[in-house]
Amino acid sequence: MSFANLSIRDLGKKLRARDTSSVELTRWTLNAAQAANGSLNAFIRILPDHALAQAEKADREFAAGIDRGPLHGIPYGAKDLFDVAGLPTSCHSRIGLDAVATADAAVVERLALGGAVLVGKLATYEYALYGPDAELPFPPARNPWKPAHITGGSSSGSAVAIASGILQMALGTDTGGSIRSPSSWTGTVGLKPTFGRVSRRGCFPLSSSLDHCGPLARQVEDAAIALQVLAGYDPLDTDCANLAVDDYNAGLGKPVKGLRIGIARSLLVSASEQTLGNIARIADLLRAEGAEVFDVETPPLALFGTVVRALLLIEGHHVHEGNLRRRIGDFGPLSARRLALGAGYTAIDYLACLKARRLLAEAVSAALCQCDVLLCATTAHTAPKYTPMPDPFDPAGPSMTNPFNVTGNPAISVPTGLDPTGLPMSVQLVGKLFGEAQLLQIAHAVERLSGWTDVALPARQA
């Protein structure tokens, strides 16, 4: 029996109807992960004992009438930046190989409370910074659609495990687009929640003012289910918002008639003709459903990028300062060069970046006063071919995701189809602060209208 084509909701129905057990589902997932890992490198570490113990517990609880919610008994994976007690949090780095966590990350705790089953820790770029870099202790994850093309990152293993049909959901982090970019290039859904919506406690930081944690998923509905479990206040994360959590599934399937969609045209300056055509197609589909679609003004894309690069390098250098001084040669060359550059900024530069960031965020808020969500691109084009040492300033064109790390707004990458070469295309939707419920409603409509739900993932094509 294959579980590859089922949603989290479908799997939950089977578990509750006793059509299958969490142990059976978990064994299937572990076997699929092990079989695919030789070619796709999605997992740094597969955890059969840990996973089967959690699955057996879930089955015992179901038998006793205990139901922990929609992720109960469902396998998931965690990017290897998240702490799991007793296991190393390698961050895909030589430096982290022996860094054994003493406690679970907040989101791992939440998923355990919800009965989810952790099957493994997933590949990333070194410290979520930059890649793919072949000079690391683990190989880079490969794109299941076309292995010669990169996955994007840094939540590369999370995206690959989902796109290849192994998992329905995985944890990722997003500092400049690290959930959304690999989602775009692997045909998965990537949701970066509002800054402060999901706790970052126990997640290794890259840039504390820009880091977000969130789910990657097979479908928008799966992402909504995951966010429902992940979201919430954590007093031990000082940036976590003490706000009520909405019902993220309530709007799924509701019509988009009358909703206002603003196309952020100035953020599309580097988009390919194909990407622009895809945006226009989605806009037309939404108009046909009765949504109002019009252009809105935002600041220029390049300005967001300059602010993100500076903040990321300054804060990243601060995080790694000790290891940069003592053992810089143990970093991969891409990370070492990038992190070292953080020493080239002054305190005045840093404060100017924070001020510029605030001005940019206010400008995006003004745009979001005119509409319900912004529509733009996740990536300028489909997944590029792998090159061993891409130019750090232009790995795949300017980032179209990092504006919303600057502003903290929730943003989601939604797959919308395949290009003529068979690579996934996507759009990015951006919501109001803490407006994930409406964002997911519109994302769900885009997923359905685009025809993506009829596209078979590569594992299913084989």
């Binding site: 390098l313 001084r325 810089i328 040669g329 550059l341 001020k355 903290g408 109001k432 803490f434």
Partner: protein
């Protein structure tokens, strides 16, 4: 022997070396040229950031979390 930086990066070479030494970083010789080019680009980007930040003369409270006080009605 350090490789010679590109002409565009040359004006920044002394400053770059001084900052890396101040940070106690032992860079591999082959990293210097690409890093210097990135440093030059970084400096140009910082000019843009400072200019943009200067467009607001009033004080901005930088201690607040980025979501604070923003209205998106």
């Amino acid at each position: 022997m350090m490789p010679n930086p590109s002409p565009a990066a040359q004006p920044f070479a002394d400053e770059f070396d001084r900052l890396m030494q101040r940070a106690h970083l032992e860079l591999k010789p082959e990293w210097r040229e690409p890093m210097l080019a990135e440093f030059a680009e970084m400096r140009a980007e910082l000019e843009a950031i400072h200019s943009f930040a200067d467009t607001r003369e009033s004080i901005v409270d930088l201690r607040q979390v980025i979501t604070y006080g923003r209205i998106e009605k």
